[in-house]
């Protein structure tokens, strides 16, 4: 079983050290080290979380707000490293969570397609090859040569989704079946997402939406206050989660 694991999380803990003032100024830092007055508050977002995700499997992660789901997402997508423990990932992880985060308002849609693409780890050759497809999918047409700051929210979302949807997912992390834009585009983007899910070699769904988790996942990890409460077949765990909530 371990031979097939694409993601394995072993006793991963994440500790946020929070200072009373959100970011320290130099003066405060000097005072504190002089006076040895430690106003450091430790917040454990995750404590010794362990689980495995195998090839071909789809795993749901459920829990209340603030349970540590987002932090876990950061670990799985390798944006953050655990304070203790280990997260091993075998394959390319694509997280469809925050779309369009790197958009530069002053640059055109065209420039942003390339910028966002290389941020996501594609090489330029691939982006050039996919460029037409992305513009077509986004339905932006001539607006692609206008600065992104002139776009409406809908246009931004459409562009962001179209770029992200070019991924060839190995391990896919999603938080909902994103539908962006108007009715027509929503349907299109949902279909594209289902395509991505079916192409992916492993799937992680981090969601509040029980129907979505039940629909997509075979196994579920339930976390609360940073700890794994239960892990097992979807229906069983979701029942328990609902009963408790």
């Amino acid at each position: 079983m371990s031979g097939q694991a694409v993601i394995s999380v072993e006793a991963a803990s994440v500790c946020f050290k929070v200072y009373k003032s959100r970011r320290r100024s130099l003066r405060e830092a000097m005072f504190r080290s002089l006076l040895r007055r430690d106003e450091l508050i430790e917040v454990w977002a995750l404590r010794e979380v362990s689980f495995q995700l195998n090839r071909g499997e789809s795993l749901g992660i459920i829990g209340d707000n603030g349970a540590g789901k987002s932090t876990l997402c950061l670990l799985l997508s390798q944006i953050m490293e655990p304070t203790a423990g280990k997260v091993t990932v075998d394959g390319k992880v694509s997280a469809l969570l925050t779309l369009g985060a790197g958009f530069q308002g002053d640059l055109t849609g065209r420039d942003n397609i390339f910028l966002n693409g290389v941020y996501l780890g594609f090489d330029l050759g691939l982006m050039r090859a996919k460029f037409k497809e992305i513009v077509e999918f986004s339905e932006l047409e001539d607006a692609i040569d206008l600065p992104v700051r002139t776009y409406s929210n809908g246009m931004r979302a459409r562009l962001a989704f179209s770029i992200a949807a070019t991924i060839q997912p190995e391990i896919l992390i999603i938080d909902e079946l994103m539908g962006v834009g108007d009715q027509k585009f929503q349907k299109k983007s949902r279909n594209r997402m289902k395509e991505l899910i079916s192409q992916s070699k492993a799937l992680v769904v981090v969601s509040h939406s029980m129907p979505l988790v039940q629909d997509l996942c075979s196994r579920v990890v339930w976390i609360d206050q940073g700890r794994v409460v239960a892990e097992g077949p979807t229906d069983e765990i979701v029942e328990r989660y609902k009963a408790q909530g």
Binding site: F16, K17, R23, R24, S25, L26, R27, A29, L74, S77, Q78, I79, M80, E81, V93, A95, L97, T98, A101, G102, Q104, D106, L107, D111, F114, L115, V118, Y119, L120, G121, F122, D123, L124, P147
Partner: protein
């Protein structure tokens, strides 16, 4: 994703696009647009020329003072601009750092490289002026110009190292940007930007020469004004400070990189 050498190389396309985006964005919203690439150094030199040569009647009698000023200013601006932009770079890009996994060192490095491009274009303009106005301005292009890429790369190494440190500090201490502004201004006045090194008292000179901008500026001027080979000491010292700064900056950045996401 950590900024290991391997990851940085695998993300070289990101670095390339970031550099061109920085350059495109810089003057996008101004009426004169790319013209600022020329206007900026020219106006800056004009201001200092007015101050030093016209009002104070000082200057270096032995060399074309305008060109002298221009070379010092351009090289220093490439350095100070890089640092001033790097200090807030990680905060400004916080949203993407928290959304996508990539080696974060590309952000300050791209800033330094786009400033270097800006610098090289300005040097070409200075060269053009030298050719147009003839020997009173500077040397005609000669074989020693081939040394320029070398000197520029030493300066870039030095700048990248400090940019990585400053970018890290900027995340952990909010007031780094304030302090940095003053430090950079002071640093310029301790570099032979406005004056020449023979104005410095002999017993202080060794201390002044610790600042690699002494050697860098002298090297640029040797090549472009006097048409001679920079001294081995100038080249060697700027190379060594460049390498030391690069290695130390990279080490600092790698050490704190893992904690950046939490702080943003």
């Amino acid at each position: 994703m950590q900024s290991s050498i391997k990851n940085l190389i695998s993300r070289r396309h990101l670095l390339r696009i970031l550099v061109s985006s920085n350059l495109k964005r810089q003057n996008k919203n101004t009426t004169l647009g790319y013209l600022w690439w020329l206007l900026d150094p020219i106006l800056m030199t004009g201001v200092y020329y007015l101050l030093v040569a016209v009002l104070f009647r000082r200057g270096d009698g032995n060399s074309p003072y305008l060109m002298y000023l221009l070379l010092g200013l351009l090289s220093y601006k490439a350095f100070s601009g890089s640092l001033a932009q790097s200090v807030s770079m990680l905060q400004n890009q916080g949203a993407i750092i928290k959304a996508i996994s990539f080696p974060k060192a590309v952000l300050p490095i791209s800033m330094v490289l786009s400033n270097a491009v800006y610098f090289i274009v300005a040097l070409l303009v200075a060269m053009g002026m030298g050719i147009y106005y003839g020997p009173e301005w500077g040397s005609w292009p000669n074989w020693y110009y081939l040394m320029l890429p070398l000197v520029i790369s030493f300066q870039v190494m030095f700048t990248v190292g400090l940019a990585l440190i400053v970018a890290t500090l900027g995340v952990f201490f909010k007031d780094t940007a304030n302090i940095l502004g003053h430090l950079l201004r002071m640093w310029y006045f301790f570099s032979p930007g406005l004056y020449s090194l023979d104005k410095i008292p002999d017993h202080l000179l060794p201390y002044f020469r610790l600042n690699p901008f002494c050697e860098l500026m002298t090297a640029y001027r040797d090549i472009m004004i006097f048409g001679r080979m920079p001294t081995v000491f100038d080249l060697g010292y700027s190379f060594i400070t460049g390498v030391v700064s690069l290695l130390f900056g990279y080490w600092v950045f790698r050490r704190y990189e893992g904690r950046l996401v939490q702080k943003l």
